[in-house]
């Protein structure tokens, strides 16, 4: 059994010491925000550097991750699914973490940071609701008042999470955009506006590896526990590294946390899976977008020729963000990682297969990673000339999605 890293936030090896001092991952990243937020971001950057250098902070984080959040999470060999797909499949079980997704890793770390910085309140955005639930839970545990913004479309389609946030004492604010029910993007717009009105007393607990510097770095560092644990666990179990690491990409936090500890292992392919939606409308930022600036960062973006951000769609509320974390843009352009998209239908199909063969109900977001891995097996096998070993990040559990699944698949026998 792998034990928890005593220093959960450890400096990456020098060659991967990104971002640079200006928050750049190559050409991407940076800090594109109104002046009002600059001093707050500078304070956050300093506070984070001090926290990571503090043995006391690291110890508190280890304690919370172990005793409360349930780390390390298991690594599960998926025998039946692997046999069906013709690969050796290993699942990193973030669905088993407290509150049901990887989002807790980031929420715990940043809530401790907020406390350390003396924040009077925390605001957060959420898409699928997993980040909102994780933040509400962490704030309850630390006794910090918490407000969560969620698009009203998402409040409705992820109703169980809305209820959980309220039980944890968070104030949940549904967000419309232009009179229409909003999604994650509208929630971030609103959370940023809240933060701008009280940059000193409020801590903005951002939920993915997006936004202005230093957020993409902080979230990456906190989520890197996923890849670090999995790497050690797989080496323990097999003596080998995986041939490919596969994860779904919304804003990109579970994917960057999974990829980052493998970036130096050149022989390990990194594969991010985006939301192909219904084919027409989608959330496939890296595969179908071009660089632009949204929510404080320069990264791939879904926008029209006038620079207006496009409407997106995905069956999963966590993958319909029109932007993506800047480090993924860097990994894409440098050729180190590959990205592809799968449709709503492919994700729903994969979800049922995982349920039947492994007794695991993954989140709809996670189902995209499964569908992408399934599609990637043939290529990997051809390239390697043998059965590929795949490490897949099971980013969360699908309990929150039962309503959508009922709508899409019917209540009784799932259709295949």
């Amino acid at each position: 059994m792998t034990s928890l890293d005593p220093n959960p936030i450890s400096a990456p090896p020098q060659e991967h010491a990104r971002p640079d001092a200006r928050g750049r991952f190559g050409a991407f990243g940076g800090r594109y925000v109104p002046e009002t937020l600059v001093p707050a971001l500078e304070r956050l950057e300093r506070g984070y550097a001090e926290a990571t250098a503090s043995a006391e902070f690291q110890a508190a984080l280890v304690r919370e991750l172990r005793q409360w959040a349930g780390r390390p999470t298991a690594l599960t060999r998926a025998e039946r699914l692997g046999t069906a797909w013709g690969c050796e499949l290993w699942l990193k079980r973030e669905d088993l973490a407290h509150t049901g997704a990887h989002k807790i890793n980031n929420a715990v770390g940043q809530a401790l940071l907020a406390q350390r910085l003396g924040a009077k309140r925390v605001v957060a955005e959420t898409g699928a609701g997993q980040h909102g639930v994780a933040t509400a839970a962490a704030c309850a545990r630390l006794g910090i008042p918490c407000r969560v913004y969620q698009g009203s479309l998402d409040v409705a389609r992820q109703a169980p999470n809305a209820r959980r946030m309220r039980l944890f004492g968070a104030e949940l604010v549904p967000v419309d955009i232009n009179g229409q029910p909003g999604t994650l993007r509208a929630a971030i717009d609103e959370a940023l506006r809240d933060w701008v009105s009280d940059p000193d007393g409020t801590y903005y607990l951002l939920g993915s590896a997006v936004g202005p510097h230093p957020y993409p770095r902080i979230v990456r560092d906190l989520q890197a526990a996923i890849g670090r644990e999995a790497r050690a666990q797989l080496l323990d179990a097999t003596g080998q590294l995986p041939d490919a690491v596969v994860a779904c990409v919304g804003g990109g936090s579970n994917a960057i946390g999974s990829f980052h500890p493998f970036v130096g292992d050149r022989e390990v392919a990194l594969l991010g899976i985006e939301a192909g939606g219904d084919g027409r409308r989608h959330g496939a930022t890296l595969t179908r977008g071009r660089p632009g600036v949204l929510h404080g960062t320069l990264s791939y973006l879904l926008h029209d020729e006038d620079g207006q951000v496009l409407e997106t769609h995905s069956v999963s509320a966590g993958l319909d963000y029109p932007g993506v974390g800047p480090e993924h843009s860097f990994l894409k352009d440098s050729g180190r990682a590959d990205y592809l998209s799968v449709t709503d239908a492919e994700a729903l199909d994969a979800l049922q297969e995982v349920c039947r063969l492994e007794g695991i109900l993954p989140a709809l977001e996670t189902a995209h990673a499964f569908a992408g891995a399934r599609r990637a097996v043939t290529d990997l096998r051809d390239r390697l000339g043998r059965t590929p070993r795949i490490l897949l990040t099971c980013s969360g559990r699908g309990d929150k999605d039962l309503g959508i699944l009922e709508d899409c698949l019917g209540t009784g026998e799932a259709t295949r």
Binding site: V33, P34, T36, V196, L294, L301, H303, D306
Partner: protein, 271 residues
């Protein structure tokens, strides 16, 4: 309006603030959302307002306006829904350029500008009567290239100074600014839901750091009284959300701007 040829567009903005139509009262910078309520009406408004304001600020509508409150958000969405875009706004302004009665600044979030191409925009600016830019999500650290390019072209690049801005940073910010320094009266978004206890100390601080460059206060300024209260503190006031609300209520925007003047001096003076 005639301008000595030696004056750069940035200097023309500074001069318009320093020597307003109504001496003895702060200059008025009037903000209109480009393409609101529709492209044709907007450009009529722009021409009319430019005869009474000291500087006209035209905002490029953006769907995710980080620094704007509900009023400007709503106007932006309306404009976009009715076909506004940076290209169309520029087209309209170019056609009416000769009728504009005061210097014009283009306010835009960065992404629409990037999509058009910054170099191309600088070339187009003169033909459209644009004297400079305000880009609220391009903070000092990311703006170096823009600042240099504007300086070279003589265009204004207006920096925003917030109450949260520390003194050392404020000094660098004022150095990098041209046209004027935009002193944000409060933490928050335009429209002013969170009125500050007392914005004057911050405004005086910005004024001290700005040296020869004029200072205009903005965010949450909506009435003639608000503006009168700034007399002797800063050089001008920026009125945006209140003007949009007036247009929404069916008021004539030029009349609204005229009524922002101190009662004694509402008669037009020409320059």
């Amino acid at each position: 309006m005639t301008r000595p040829t030696t004056l750069t567009p940035a200097e023309a903005v500074s001069r318009a603030i320093r020597t307003p139509r109504h001496a003895g009262a702060p200059a008025v910078v009037a903000f209109l959302t480009g393409g609101f309520p529709d492209l044709d009406t907007f450009v009529e408004h722009a021409v009319a307002v430019s005869q009474v304001a000291d500087v006209l600020e035209v905002g490029v509508p953006f769907r995710d306006p980080m620094a704007d409150g509900v009023t400007i958000q709503r106007a932006s969405h309306t404009a976009l829904d009715r076909g506004a875009s940076l290209a169309r706004i520029l087209e309209r302004l170019r056609a009416r350029r000769g009728e504009l009665g005061c210097p014009l600044l283009l306010m835009s979030y960065l992404n629409p500008l990037l999509a058009r191409g910054l170099e191309r925009l600088h070339d187009e600016a003169f033909a459209c009567g644009i004297h400079g830019f305000i880009v609220p999500d391009l903070c000092l650290e990311e703006a170096e290239e823009q600042v240099a390019r504007c300086r070279e072209a003589g265009l204004a690049f207006v920096q925003l100074a917030a109450p949260a801005t520390p003194d050392a940073r404020l000094a660098r910010l004022c150095d990098a600014s041209s046209g004027f320094v935009y002193a944000v009266t409060m933490n928050g978004t335009t429209g002013g839901a969170h009125a500050p206890a007392d914005p004057l100390p911050h405004l005086r601080r910005v004024k001290r750091h700005a040296g020869a460059l004029p200072v205009c206060a903005g965010f949450g300024i909506s009435t003639a009284d608000d503006i009168a209260g700034l007399q002797g503190v800063v050089d001008g006031a920026i009125v945006g959300s209140a003007l949009i609300r007036a247009i929404e209520a069916g008021q004539d925007p030029a009349d609204f701007v005229r009524a922002l003047r101190p009662a004694a001096s509402r008669q037009e003076t020409s320059r």
